[in-house]
Subunit: 397 residues, 2 copies
Amino acid sequence: MKSIGIAILLAASICYAQDDAGFQPAPTNVMDAAYPRVDTASRVEIRVKAPDASNVRVNFWSGPKLDMVKQPDGFWTITTPPLAPGLHYYTLNIDGLEVSDPGGHAFFGGSKDASAVEVPEAGSTYYLPQGIPHGQVREIWYHSDVTGTWRHALVYTPPGYDSNTKGRYPVLYLQHGAGEDETGWIRQGHANFILDNLIASKSCKPMIVVMANGNARRVGAAPPDSAGRPFGSPEMMRAMQEMAKAFEDDMTQVLIPFIDSNFRTIPDRDHRAMAGLSMGGMQTFQVTFDRLDLFSYIGGFSGAGGMAMMRSDQKPDMKTAFNGAMADPAAFAKRVHLLWIGVGTEEPPQMKGGIERLNASLTDAHIEHVFYESPGTAHEWQTWRRDLKDFLPRLFQ
Amino acid sequence: MKSIGIAILLAASICYAQDDAGFQPAPTNVMDAAYPRVDTASRVEIRVKAPDASNVRVNFWSGPKLDMVKQPDGFWTITTPPLAPGLHYYTLNIDGLEVSDPGGHAFFGGSKDASAVEVPEAGSTYYLPQGIPHGQVREIWYHSDVTGTWRHALVYTPPGYDSNTKGRYPVLYLQHGAGEDETGWIRQGHANFILDNLIASKSCKPMIVVMANGNARRVGAAPPDSAGRPFGSPEMMRAMQEMAKAFEDDMTQVLIPFIDSNFRTIPDRDHRAMAGLSMGGMQTFQVTFDRLDLFSYIGGFSGAGGMAMMRSDQKPDMKTAFNGAMADPAAFAKRVHLLWIGVGTEEPPQMKGGIERLNASLTDAHIEHVFYESPGTAHEWQTWRRDLKDFLPRLFQ
């Protein structure tokens, strides 16, 4: 018995030593913060000091919700089960207040500066900085008569944009999801590094990418009556539709003319694309199908076709859907150079089902399109990074 | 008695109604957040839901520290006394955990994404967007052999930079304070709007402004042994000095060559300035006096001359200070086109005294310089916005 006891102790001790050695501060941490940290099995350990709290929980928005454990030193800790690779939003709940973890950088999501922890994906470097030429991400401000406000947007310009002063470039408009803003595709998505890497390997065309704030409200309009309503409620749907219409007007009447005046674009529909994730995908389908005179490449990342379509159990009728634009598949294929939809295999059934039904309807109606499934990822940024990596090489060819 | 009672009730009710009407959501709030809010008397009301907390406090880093009051609905509230105008960092303490307020945007300060609330300054528009041409703020990434890491910096390019493709511009290197990063001068300081406004009124020359991350550590170096040490302790001083030396090497060996290669600069000392706030001011004095071959304009905003000088009660000896660069005042005035120091009148005595002693020493030694006092402001961003507004028109004339 004694030798077995020692063996168990040894095993436990070895296991603990390996675990501890395998943990590294997350890449998303602020300088010198030791926690949160991630081990080689993709487990995340969180640790915060709250000596007087009676209850501390962690809520991964697309993952586990766990009670943290109080230690004698006043710190609360928890280690998650292994998580999927990618960036995971989470919130700490301290005695009823939802807050972010001071150990990590904040990312705008859930309509606030929220915590998110990066779990590295072994072997994936396509969204990391490499020793290759880098483009620039430029902040611009434009005044919108539609919203009556100064609006902030980010613009990626490809390597060589400043020296190639005669060159003109195609443009992708790339939108964030609900509760996020124009910073999401850079901070959370690393879109700039994805572009740099694909451009360096000549896998995609050098292009300008515009990331605008999709949270638009018409000048003088009151805030929507959707606060506290469940996602998908009639009030929320109405609010999102009103926002999408205001954003469509802002984008087509103000932003696109501003970009075409201030950047060396090729300002025609054959060289203009739009894509977005979740709410941004729904906005993309609304804007592009309203204005096929402006766009010829369309991408919906975990969001496409409008919320009514996502919530219905019925397959959409391609003769009438999207303003009837697909009623004639051959004419549509000639007019729209790319129709791209994607979803993660671990997304909620409603989202996955909606995209799959749209895919089936497009296939049944013989409408040329691309359907991409991201294996093992949920309604999260790793899905949308992969989407972008698949989508970009198909543009402007 | 009855009429007095009614009068008191009426007065209270009128007072409450006026107060409530005078409050507006802070400009720094996330979309549609009603709190924190600011009234016309510059009082800030904070409100958070923490139904199970036993103690909630608010800590304004350069202002009041107040216990919040629990309301029957589970919200905690507090209204501050009137605050000085400008951006005020603060933290919420929930049962011992220091967190940020989810109602506002986060700003990197105190080595984390912290809360800050903007109190408008009546009549001050110089740091707000106006209907004039705007420059761009560009994110760049460069790999540093000094730190062994990819480093992120922001670069302001003036209006017209893209169209005036033959034009070359002078450059200001502009640094943040301790616990902040390269985003501070844009997010907290609104340096881009200050530049836009001064350039539009022809009050300063169009210029490029580079904002780098002053938190530098030499490749392979261990984190400093200064965690938890009081500000100004020997360990902290040594850590900041090591960081300043690493940053000096990164800046002079990697960043400046990168900027001169990738932007249309005038790459000589007569067209290169450096300034910084607090720790960034100390870094500025170290870098520029080490490398007067590279710089000819020098600005220290609430920080100048190194920490030893700030902590001493003695006036520095201008014959030997700063590598003896000022021993001959006439020669110095010929070589350095601007030496600028400033401090807010409400800053802590040690900071204020240090800058005032330096000013007195410079004056006594007949060394040409500018000394600026910001009235009524503390060691905070409103001081540094005013500093920049005074400093910029004096550059490159």
